[in-house]
Assembly symmetry: C2
Homo-oligomer: 305 residues x 2
């Protein structure tokens, strides 16, 4: 693995070395390293790109890392990964994609992820997207995520795209059974002429299911963001969506939450705010000796933390 690939791995999976536990590292369309454990098996799919990750019931305090890196300009792929998480598991899954494109052709990775989460299982899922490279070719990521949660399960998803992705359409869908809970935390920053679209659809199907979708984003330069969150309350349930965006320069931010109450005991709430950095905050930091640029950066970093 070369220096660029190592850098990408660090950014998307916080990996400085080979991780503990199960992992599958994919670089430029090829599996370059894989490890399985007694509880977590990883098998390549037949007939199409991607892997099946099977986690035995009752597996606790284990992790799976499945980072993807692309460093060849013009490389495009669609990858199908399915996660089968047994009942009563408590695991961390880290997936991410880093693209380095120093050429003139577009590079693209579309990861189609499905999660089948067993009863009372607990999953923390982290997905980071990152791009680098000075080429004219675009860095494109169109992930699709589907989550099917059985009774009493808990899923926390951290979706992060901090830098360098030219175009992304992120589509996420979840269906929750009785007593299941889903927490989605999205953090997004776009700059230059980047475009980012996030579409979430959460169906609160089972009684006492619960969802919390929180998006924080910063749009700089000429970038364009669109956020859609559709929360469907089909039973006695609680749904909450919150979307806060900082808009800067010539950027555009479109926020379209949908609350769809189909049951008289569905309790759905949404809040959204789009605005610029508060002037007082900037001035305060500048009196402490920061330049305007530094003060802005400090506020943006704090907001996205």
């Amino acid at each position: 693995m070369d220096k660029i690939q190592k850098r990408l791995l660090e950014e998307v999976a916080d990996l400085h070395e080979i991780p503990a536990g199960a992992y599958n590292i994919r670089a430029n369309g090829q599996m370059t390293a894989r490890n399985t454990t007694a509880s977590i098996n990883i098998v390549s799919k037949e007939g199409k790109s991607g892997i099946d990750i099977r986690i035995k019931p009752g597996t606790k305090k284990e992790s799976v890392h499945i980072p993807v890196i692309l460093s060849k300009s013009g490389f495009k792929e669609v990858v199908y990964n399915d996660f089968y998480i047994g009942n009563d598991c408590d695991v961390v899954i880290v997936a991410g994609c880093g693209i380095h494109n120093s050429g003139a052709l577009d590079s693209q990775h579309d990861g189609i992820h499905r999660f089948f989460v067993g009863r009372n299982a607990k999953v923390k899922y982290v997905e980071k997207h990152y791009g680098t490279g000075e080429g004219y070719g675009k860095r494109i990521l169109n992930p699709v995520t589907e989550v099917y949660q059985e009774e009493g399960s808990y899923v926390e998803m951290e979706m992060v795209q901090i830098k360098g992705v030219d175009s992304t359409i992120r589509t996420s869908k979840a269906v929750l059974s009785k007593g299941a809970k889903l927490v989605i935390k999205e953090r997004l920053m776009t700059h230059g002429k980047q475009k980012a679209t996030s579409i979430y659809e959460v169906e609160l199907k089972g009684e006492f299911s619960n969802a919390d979708v929180i998006s924080r984003s910063v749009a700089k330069d000429y970038s364009n963001q669109s956020f859609e969150a559709n929360i469907i309350g089909a039973n006695i349930c609680n749904g909450h969506a919150e979307c806060d965006a900082i808009i800067m320069d010539q950027a555009r931010v479109l926020s379209i939450p949908k609350l769809d109450a189909r049951h008289m005991d569905a309790m759905l709430i949404h809040e959204a705010a789009i605005g610029k950095i508060a002037g007082e905050q900037l001035i305060k930091l500048m009196t402490l000796g920061l330049t305007e640029k530094e003060a802005e950066e400090c506020i943006v970093n704090g907001f996205l933390k």
Copy 2:
């Protein structure tokens, strides 16, 4: 005017007698009464149904009532009304439509209203929709409202649909110039198998323009409500939308606010909540001697006030 027509007039325009000021009363497609004043002129359109209402610049503390009533089952009409409100006016405009349908055929009134609001003018606009009659024929209202606000103008719109309208699609659009302010207050109740759709699009085009869209609704029985509010911030501006709904029985409520920030100094905020009547509120009122039904009604009425 018969008893039914008088009742409709009362409901939609709070009129117990002939109003003071300018008015135009339309019943079953015919103008039945009209009054103009020195400052407010009403002229029938040529070539199509409807009227032009011209209010002289500087007109203060005057009102225009233009209620429409339909009591003939199966009657359908599209009416075009244009309001030209001069600079520095301060006026109240009351428009409303009441349909009594005791027959088997659908009755429908579609009012297409345009408001051209002059500089620094102040307008309070009230629009009430109401339906009665035990016939199988539906009572349908599809109003379209367009508001063009010049510099410094203030428009307050009260859109009320309390009872008896089987199907409505309300489409409202506003474009605000510099320093203009728009306040929309919607109150809606649906019952039975009624369907109601409200679509608002407010473009904050001028600097320091300001919009506040507040919707409160109650959905009972098998009724179906959809609320869309699109606030476009195209300049330094403030936009706020709030949508609260009480859902009961087998009803469905869909809320789709859109915040579209196209300028870094646009400050846009949205809040929405859909839920049922709080149990504690019901119990409190019931301990005071009300039946559950009465307690519910009391809470709903308070919420829609």
